[in-house]
Symmetry: D2
């Protein structure tokens, strides 16, 4: 089995749990509270800005021109900021996306996820560690969206269905590129290194779960102060 397949397979129990958690169930039934969606969009905006930085930190680790080109395109994509999935959620909330994300949030679970990615980008020369920290993001969305579209509980009348439609195909290429990079970059890795990279991947899958859950609970730092920025 390819190492990328092994990673994805090992993450199935976590993805199943994400699917059953309130966020995705609310999306499925079309009744996720609007405040939860606004919180999610705000946290996601903070996260995406850092995700672009992480892509940038990977550029000097790449030997091949086409891998640098891929990274540059991904940064460009985030910087351009035209993500259809965001617009679907903003439409549901019935407020302009740019208005929603003017309010910034930086919750503990998002902080953990982001610092997990930075740690691997800074401390690990082999980009495979950082790819492992990033790859669960598109993969989890892809798997959940495809499953949702097959789910008889899906509310076909709800606007939110389009969110699943979007992610059911739009992540395919990115998942494919991440898989190939993972397999290429771990070719000469020892079993010990692969074990560490697998942990890195599974931890980010758990972070994905925490990210959805923190949106439902509208998580804040318990020192009672204002948010991070």
């Amino acid at each position: 089995m390819l190492f990328s397949s092994e990673l994805k397979q090992a993450s199935q129990p976590i993805i199943e749990a994400i699917y059953k958690d309130p966020f995705i169930q609310g999306m499925l039934k079309g009744n996720l509270p609007k405040d939860v969606i606004k919180y999610y969009l705000r946290a996601d905006a903070s996260y995406l800005k850092e995700f672009a930085n992480i892509y940038a930190l990977l550029i000097p680790k790449m030997q091949e021109l086409e891998d640098v080109q891929f990274l540059v395109e991904q940064i460009q994509f985030i910087v351009d900021g035209e993500v259809e999935a965001h617009e679907i959620l903003a439409d549901f909330v019935n407020e302009p996306y740019n208005e929603i994300v003017k309010e910034k949030v930086w919750p503990p679970s998002g902080d953990h996820y982001i610092k997990h990615m930075y740690f691997n980008a800074y401390a690990k020369e082999n980009a495979a560690y950082t790819i492992a920290a990033m790859a669960p993001c598109p993969y989890v969305y892809q798997v959940i969206a495809k499953q949702a579209l097959q789910d008889e509980l899906l509310n076909n009348d709800a606007l939110l269905k389009e969110w699943f439609v979007f992610y059911s195909t739009e992540m395919d290429e990115l998942v494919h590129v991440f898989d190939n990079l993972m397999d290429k970059l771990t070719q000469n890795c020892t079993n010990q290194e692969k074990h560490a990279i697998k942990d890195c991947f599974l931890q980010s899958t758990v972070h994905e779960r925490n990210f959805f859950n923190m949106s439902v609970t509208e998580e804040v730092w318990s020192y009672g102060g204002d948010n991070n920025e």
Copy 2:
């Protein structure tokens, strides 16, 4: 008010919460389960190894010889590994410290704390950010230990009382040095930078709370796999 005093004052609500949480209350009454203490010692051993690395990463950020000397002494202290407080807990558990920590743990809350410190050491040139991430550790122990020794609920017959006795005085110098460094390194900081540094300090105080709590719940990663190393 000195900036270091402002930080310490702002952290009081979190420290009060730590004091009331099960870990410190169990220490106070002398009835903390031995498994909890073993888990705590294992997590702390992982944490200390990284704490030494963080001290090392600060060395190139320092301009003055005496600050480098302080950092080298702190690393030396951790590397030598003769921490009386550990021996007190190992005696209570009635197993040799080195045997207890042979089993490694790397729980989510500890991971977050450690990656918070690394992020600041890697991304922030001014050492004040990293000092802010480190300083709550000795400070929380100092405040709690002093308070416990005044607490009429303290079980004076319990071996664990010695743990409080140790921390009630042994952190004084380190807290003092961290305070001075904090005040010196933030002299030319803007209010925005100071706000970020304060968040950094308060987040680590929350991480201290999570660290004790994760020991009580014997927290593990929810992907069901083995631990991180």
Copy 3:
């Protein structure tokens, strides 16, 4: 005077020396040896690959979206690799550019220049230091090209004249953006920091001079071994 103007003014004596050195004089008279040009193109290809990496390392240091967009465009430009100036030189040599740069060189003076840029990107949080290390590259080419076009010694019949024509206008925008970034990023710097940033700029101007000179002497590492890669 703007800080960016102060830097550029301080570099004039070095730029005058570059103009009088054999490389530019050979370009001017249209009689620079073809081996020198091939060596220069090879060294420049190694340099540009690292220059793209340095741009990438600056992305996480930027607060504003438009600055990230500028950096992404610059990386894209280098990665696309269609530099007219290279084609002019390759035409003069009468060999395809891609054939010429298949042979790699990594000479000592180029190594120093590149490690100067990396040091500032890694060690300095404020991007102004790295911008100072990068900015002399387009600026030196711009000044020299404009001066050459006014120089009565310019060989108007030589193909190499086009190299000056290209750089006399094509660097204008990049120099302008670097100037603005420099002035913006140093607004809150102390005089001591500005002094260090100025050294950083002047050192890179000296590295530009060494870069041309190493091409004329076809510099190699004196341990007699093969080149660096």
Copy 4:
């Protein structure tokens, strides 16, 4: 042959050249100008401060406690600053060492050497690269000092003879530790990685040569400005 032996053997031609260069020949005959020695001591003081920082950056790369302890001892040694070899040179110059090094120098060749070490410490996860950048320092001094003591041209009456006596034995342990680290850390390296590490070692040997030569010429940056700090 051990990889560490291969590196040392490959550096012999450079070390022979260093021996014949004016600095060592002046030391040997006891007639090196005092200004040259003062310049060397000043440049060496700048270099040693950074060398301590490089040791610190290696600490997080180490897996084994004894390697961390070695690094801490080396930093401690530099920070304590009692280097007998410096005192011998200061005695020859007949000025107190601390007075001599109050004037700072930061010449181009020293800058290149130091940024070579930082680059490897920052960009390379495997400490072998940085060890390769550091190891020529003690090794070159050891080889040259042993050779000088056998050389019939050595001025036995000169105070400077003691400098060779010091380095003929005092580097033995450090060379030994570096050799062992190099062999241990490159055990799983590919041939391509070993080739890069070898280049790293040979480049630093060339930097050692440049360091002595820059002292003889009292090298300065050609922008005519003041020194770097």
